[in-house]
Amino acid sequence: MKPLPKFKYHAPSTVEEALYLLATLDEAEPVAGGTDLVPLMRDAACSPSNLVDLNNVAELNYVREDSGYICIGATATHAQVASSPIAAKAPALVDAVSGIGSPQVRNRATIAGNLCNASPAADSAPPLLVHEAEVAIRSLKGTRIIPLEELFAGPKLNTLEPDELVTEVRLPAPPEGAGSSFKRIGRRKAFTLSVVSAAAYVELSGGEITEARLAFGSVAETPIRTRAVEELLRGKALTGGLLDKAAESVKAEVSPITDVRGTAEYRRDMCGVLLRRALAEAAERAR
């Protein structure tokens, strides 16, 4: 079997210490679950000289509510988020993280890691995008907070500097009358990458959609929001006719490719199908 390339291992116990290591060591990569990083290293797609293990940094492991935000610490795993009563307020997120990988993967893999890996197929991304999540990024120079969308630069590319660390992902606690949903199509029922995924978030007032947000995975170079379709929905009553129109329009806003997991044509058509299903469920939850 192909061996892992050699690396030095560091296990800081504070964020400050971790940031110092990332700033001073050559070719250093932070690692938490390692479920993306280790296979990449084995395939020689990534060969850091230093690994900075975040698992001993107690202050990064939490799911909590703070000042109107649901806050997810950098080392919070999918399993932690899936079972958190706080995260339950963002049902699309819970739907997504409960279905990623296998139980073993969910016990190790972190939400922050899933996002930093910047896969177009990352299942946690569409729900976090529709919940308008932000990412807190720290380095020795300070802290910056960016919208999640700005973390993604392309397939498997993020916008972090080598000395920066994502310390938290946070999303506004949804108001009353909000609902969200996540739908995916995989090549089997569990433990597989999404061929297409979709998340919808709506706020309803009376019968009217006062806010609508949609995001899709595996249909562009990064997980994307489809803002033209969102605009189409806002201020309207959720009718069958509107759903038809949205499902049709979304196909123009995505740019999928054909690969071993599916054809471009299929993915485009499925954006319409999943949009309907996710919107219908989000609206149901909003009522």
Binding site: I185, R188, E265
Partner: protein
């Protein structure tokens, strides 16, 4: 001797253990993770071996440069074809497969050199430093390109490796008698075995001998191939087969290669060598299920009888013929399916391409064949306006019927009973209309299968087993039939236990070791329990004779009155008068009753006429029928198998639980071929070599499998009447699902796999 009548011979009316569900003796170790597989025997620090392979699909080797690689620290030796002392030819059926390629490469992955080094880092570094200069040849990437007039030759002598034919009755006359006719072309792709344990061997050399612990499916074939490469006698090679984590046919073909790499390198180096494949190597380079294109024309009359079939089979070998002559023959010989058809015209050819080669895989050609044959039967029934099951019942083989090859089946034919049983269990008649629920639609399909057990035509066939009664009454059992997850050796132990009246748990099953185990031929062709079990029964009957004679002397009653049960020998007429096997065993040694026996069983002769293809091809057939309920989401194209009703005529279920286990695994593996599995190639290179993108069904995809209906039409030469189960279990699964998809959607899909985007596109085009 009629082996299905053993119980009567023993003078018993009830079985002790046969036919009952008994916990396998290896179950606990396997569940606890304590069972040892090949890699578990390798001591830390052992020299490791990696096969250096060609990076191009087709080319002449001009030069192999090793100097730089040999200078990599930690490298202990690198060997090429030039170092081979015996034969450098390891082809299974045809001499077309070099052990190490030094003249030409035939697919991206052809073995060129063996690198030995102290660790994986050195192996990887050395791989980068080997330089092979090729004169590249144009690759041949599909069967049509291979059959084209000006196609580049993959091997000297043409791109057609082998052909087959059957001429029975008069096919054209049969079509003139037909009232309806259907024709179609079916494609069945590569499938990867994806056994959990990858290929592995650990070789320990002596001066003129080598011992290999390895996985595989035939320690005797492995021994033969290793000896052949070394230029040695069979007794200079000792193969110990460790428990094997799945075979499905793949290790039947890879076992000899992997063991030979390790044995050859260990002998050259003069020290032990371990060779364990990564998943990446296993998926890219091991043999796959042979892809096949089958053109099938069939005709039937208005009474619902099939009058004629004309079948044309093109098998894709890939780089080497490997088992393709046997595979193609099996497809040819089974072409009509489990039906009596008087007029058959069948032609087959196996064609080389410069891609990973095909080889043994559960079903051995009968998956692709039955996919075609059973789709055709469905189409005929629709065209005739008949119920698909009623139509099949008019045509199925019955006792006295004749197969595609005109072989008369004089006994052990239970397909009609299987079909009627699944019809009734699934309440078929009330599911003749597809049911729509929102975007989803559910349909029912039926599929039948028959599968000749063990090897075909005139290939000699035998099996062997041995038993030792130890002085304390414990029993040691040796069989060359291997444990690959299926449990055949434990099935043998139950047969032995039934005959000598001990607890199966008292019988210890040794690992096959060619130094002390008789050649039992391979564990393939669903023969492990059937032929191995008959040899076990022969051995057990001999041991029983010894035990009974000794007990008769001790108890002073005529031997005809002695029976053996529950670990004791006793007088049938005074059951209180008896002796424990523990005491009896010691007396057998003291009084000179032979405590060690061999059982050797030669299968009945078969024969065939090479001109017409007619004859007795397989000594017996196992039959299966399944019904499935499939749900198709018409918006997403996703198809889910919801329920499966399986039935099988396996002669006699030695252990119903093991039959159920085989069928449940087969449903999943068969479903994988139909709905999701696919080897993706780009310019001849496999691009999805792992579990991430070679998707196999998960437990969540497994349908509700209804209780297995076991039909028992005993086979005269199987112990207690048993026939093989492993392959027949998977074959009918394929057409059952495809026919159910058709029932639900009204669309026929003739190419596997049928993935969501294929269904979605077809539904879209049909205006859904």
């Amino acid at each position: 001797m009629e082996y299905d009548k053993i119980l009567e011979m023993l003078g018993r009316k009830e079985f002790l253990v046969v036919g009952k569900n008994v916990t396998r003796s290896d179950a606990l170790d396997k569940v606890l993770g304590k069972a040892r597989y090949t890699a578990d025997y390798v001591p830390r620090g052992t020299t490791l071996l990696k096969v250096y392979r060609s990076s191009i699909p087709h080319g002449i080797i001009k030069r192999i440069e090793l100097d730089e690689a040999l200078r990599v620290p930690g490298v202990e030796g690198i060997y090429t074809g030039a170092d081979v002392t015996g034969s450098n030819q390891i082809g299974y059926a045809l001499p077309d497969q070099p052990f190490l390629n030094d003249v030409k490469v035939h697919y991206a992955g052809d073995p060129v050199a063996l690198i030995c080094a102290r660790d994986e880092y050195a192996l990887e570094a050395a791989s980068e430093k080997i330089h092979v200069e090729y004169e590249e040849l144009p690759p041949v990437l599909d069967v049509d390109a291979s059959l084209a007039e000006d196609a580049p030759l993959v091997h000297d002598g043409g791109n057609v490796a082998v052909t087959t034919r059957i001429r029975k009755g008069d096919a054209e006359k049969g079509f003139r008698e037909a009232d309806v006719e259907v024709s179609d072309t079916y494609w069945s792709p590569y499938q990867e075995h994806m056994y959990l344990e990858t290929e592995a061997a650990y070789a320990v050399p002596e001066r003129d001998k080598v011992t290999v612990i390895c996985n595989g499916q035939s320690p005797f074939l492995i021994r033969e191939k290793v000896a052949h490469i070394m230029g040695w006698d069979l007794n200079q090679v000792r193969i110990i087969q460790a428990l094997t984590g799945g075979g499905f046919g793949g290790k039947d073909d890879q076992g000899p290669l992997v063991a030979a790499y390790a044995a050859f390198a260990a002998h050259k180096l003069g020290r032990p060598v371990a060779h364990v494949w990564s998943r990446d190597e296993s998926v890219k380079f091991s043999n796959k299920r042979f892809p096949a294109r089958i053109r099938y024309r069939s005709g039937a009359n208005s009474e619902g009888r099939v009058t004629s079939i004309e079948v044309d089979i093109t098998l894709e070998c890939g780089a080497y013929a490997n088992r393709s002559p046997f595979w193609l023959w099996r497809q040819t010989a089974h072409a009509a399916g489990p039906y009596e058809v008087h007029n058959c015209s069948i032609d087959g050819r196996a064609v080389y391409t410069t891609k990973v080669y095909g080889g043994s895989f559960r079903g051995f050609g009968d998956m692709a064949l039955h996919f075609a044959a059973e789709s055709q039967m469905d189409k005929l029934s629709y065209k005739l306006g008949m119920d698909p099951i009623d139509f099949r019942l008019r045509n199925v083989l019955v006792e006295g019927g004749r197969t595609t090859c005109d072989q008369v089946l004089d006994h052990s034919v239970g397909i009609k009973e299987c079909l009627e049983a699944v019809r009734d269990a699934s309440d078929w008649a009330s599911h003749r209309e597809p049911v729509r629920d929102g975007s989803k639609v559910r349909g029912y399909g039926v599929g039948l299968a028959y599968h000749g057990i063990s090897t075909s035509r005139s290939t000699p066939d035998w099996s062997a087993a041995s038993l030792i009664m130890n002085p304390d009454g414990s029993v040691t059992y040796r069989t060359g039939i291997v444990e690959i997850g299926q449990g055949s050796p434990f099935g043998h132990a139950k047969i032995v236990a039934e005959i000598i009246g001990v607890d199966p748990a008292a019988i210890r099953i040794e690992l096959p070791d060619t130094d002390s185990t008789l050649d039992a031929k391979p564990t393939h062709g669903s023969r492990g329990l059937m032929l191995g079990g008959t040899a076990a029964a022969k051995a057990a009957l001999k041991l029983r004779e010894s035990m009974v004679a000794c007990a008769a002397e001790l108890l002073e009653v005529p031997s005809g009155r002695i029976d053996l049960a529950e670990g004791r020998a006793f007088d049938r007429e005074n059951p209180g008068t008896g002796i424990s096997v523990r005491e009896l065993a010691e007396e057998m040694y003291v009084r000179g009753y032979d405590p060690a026996v061999h059982g050797f069983f030669k299968a009945p002769e078969r024969f065939f006429d090479p001109e017409t293809g007619l004859g007795v091809n397989y000594s017996v057939y196992t039959f299966a029928a399944t019904v499935a309920e499939v749900e198709v989401d018409t918006e997403t194209g996703e198809a889910a198998v919801l329920r499966v009703w399986p039935a099988m005529d396996c002669g006699k279920a030695i252990d119903p639980l093991m039959v159920e286990g085989q069928i449940e695994g087969a449903v999943s593996q068969g479903m994988g071929l139909v709905l999701m599995e696919n080897i993706e190639l780009k310019a001849g290179h496999v691009i999805n070599p792992g579990f991430k993108d070679y998707v196999v069904p998960s437990s969540m995809d497994t349908p509700q499998i209804e209780p297995v209906i076991i039909v028992e039409k005993p086979y005269r030469y199987g112990a207690f009447g048993a026939k093989g189960v492993g392959e027949p279990a998977i074959i009918s699964v394929v057409p059952t699902i495809t026919n159910a998809i058709h029932h639900a959607t009204g669309i026929r899909f003739n190419e596997l796999p049928i993935r969501p985007w294929t269904i979605h596109k077809a539904l879209k085009e049909a205006g859904n």
